[in-house]
Symmetry: none
Subunit: 206 residues, 4 copies
DNA sequence: GATGAATGAGTTTTCATTCAT
DNA sequence: AATGAATGAAAACTCATTCAT
């Protein structure tokens, strides 16, 4: 009856394929302007197949957001392990953390762009989930600052809560501006700027 | 045929009223989830009246974005005047700038929230216009850093282009986290944290 | 309060002015594509004034159709008076009739175009009224043919009912093709062709 | 959600069915007074199905006009083939031509009525396309008259350009009056009247 | 499992007409 | 009488989702 390939794939593979197609489609036009039609076309399957694997458009997007958040959860960005902290000076610690964060972001830049540009302001509670993650991350940065302060790297009067915000903001802006564009970024330079600015910003000897 | 109020207003007043109603509606539900129906209900007028003043939903939103951008253009945030720079030390200059910026943001926080949460990632080129403004602002911060470097406040090796990004990111995050929420922010504290972090971050004596 | 001229005109003059504006507007875009807005703009009056003089869009158009049909009723096209018939040969009679018809059509070509291009197929019974007029005209042509047959000008076997249709069709096509266009027509040539074709067409000596 | 019939048809068949339903609907109420709702009700399908097959109301009507014009293009009415001309006298040729034309018109009278009553005066350029066809037809009649004149059937002074208009007008009027009504026409009588009138009308021996 | 034609609730938009000033 | 802002019923059109094949 049909025309297409009617290729039978295992559910996992098909799901993966659809997820990829959805990512490309959403990146191209944004969540609302992307229609299910475009996703299935991109994937080369029929509408029916799409709905066999996802509850709907909203569900694919949710899956994408989940995946993204999972990646960052796994990468545990910016939280220095105690033993790392013990072995190295603050500068090295920061450098390693930032590098790992930026590399993770760069590796998953497509999903990340989706997350930052689309998942925000998207009624269905997506924004809230992203915000949760920001909070968690804020906590970690905050904890690092606690350690730095304990060790005398950060000055005693530092408003650590706000400082964590400032640090987060720096990373976010750098990410948006330098990692999401088409050009390959100079990660070293980005890391150095972040490390230098943060270290001085919190420095004991002002 | 039915009568409602049939209150007759001058086009300017009506337009203003509709703009206000639209702002409230958009803030409540976001751009896509807000329907013209809800805007006109909020304004207490008929659909026809709405379309007599705006080409459509897209056009009201565009008007809102325009207004917002105009406000920040007028506020000229963060660009210190030469004579100000000459009279005061860098700390005072920064403090004044940040205060002005944050106060403007706080005053217009409803519009700002709309801009940051809705206008970004909205197909119709809104994001591009917002990005333009970010660029312009980046330029200004950059120029300030040039001045600071000339006067020996910023260290000679400072990667000013990136530093401008970091500064912008700090302001953006602080704004999102502290100015857009329901709680009245402690502007003094925010300003101090920003000033302190930036000044140290760029400081000559590291 | 207002901007316009607020010129007070007698009802008759205003009505006439509106009728003229409506004619121009309808000719430009057709009945459906012409909006009341365009008519009042063309006339330089407000919507309210328009509705003070006509029940609505439909009513202006009806007034225009009425006027047109009245003109042709008054012109009594194509019906030769008995005394005329008595005095002249058939050729002269036809020539006079056709000339009068075509001249009337030419004089009122704008209204005529409206009638032929718009009033047809316009739900509201306009088409029916036009058709009535065609029937009346058909009767007259038919009567003329009766006279011609009595006088031996038309052959005895002539299917007069159909012949009247043919004659009407000839006039209609000539009118559409040559009188409604932008070029000034050569009425003499048109009349000669009609007279010659009809006279031969019905001629006794075939 | 509710189910209706959900009869699954091939696109071609469905399109054909919709075209038929649209024709009936347009014939009943005319182009403007027919709403998509009525077409889909007539076809027994949902709005969505309609829009899957046609861009909109305008597009169905355009398809109808196209089909109509194609039919008449295929029927090549009124253009006698050279070999036909050679074998028969002018009267036979005309009789055959008219018969073919009127039979084609009669067979497709529903579409034809739509074309003549609706497509004319319909902003979107429909009228222009119909007029084009009239021009082409005019050319053919004109060419036939050239042949007739060459063969001495038509008199030497005949204004062939205008005569072609007259012939076209006759056919048009006869068609409107006798083929589009509810009564079965007497085609023989119509053909005879046309042949006789035209032959005499152009006759050499006046 | 896959297909894609079919569905229809939900939105946007238009424009003839009304009526407060 | 004149004005023009306001009205809202009436269309047109969209697109996520369903389900017969």
């Amino acid at each position: 009856m049909s025309v297409r390939n009617r290729q039978r794939l295992s559910p996992e593979v098909r799901r993966e394929q659809l997820l990829g197609a959805a990512t490309r489609a959403f990146l191209r036009r944004g969540y609302h302007a992307t229609h299910v039609e475009q996703i299935v076309e991109e994937a080369g399957v029929s509408r029916g197949t799409f709905y066999a694997h996802f509850e709907g458009k909203h569900a694919v997007f949710a899956a994408l957001v989940d995946r993204m958040l999972q990646i960052f959860l796994d990468a545990r960005p910016a939280l220095p392990e105690p033993e790392v902290l013990a072995l190295h000076d603050a500068e090295t610690v920061l450098r390693l953390s930032y590098r790992e964060v930026l590399e993770t972001f760069w590796r998953h830049r497509r999903l990340l762009r989706l997350l930052l540009e689309e998942a925000v302001g998207l009624e269905k509670g997506f924004a809230a989930r992203v915000e949760e993650h920001f909070q968690a991350w804020h906590q970690r940065v905050r904890q690092t600052l606690d350690l730095f302060q304990e060790r005398g790297v950060a000055h005693a009067d530092l408003d650590k809560d706000l400082a964590a915000d400032l640090v987060l903001g720096m990373v976010e802006r750098v990410t948006r501006r330098h990692l999401l564009g088409p050009k390959k970024p100079d990660l070293d330079r980005l890391v150095e700027a972040l490390v230098s600015f943060e270290l001085r910003g919190i420095a004991s000897a002002a």
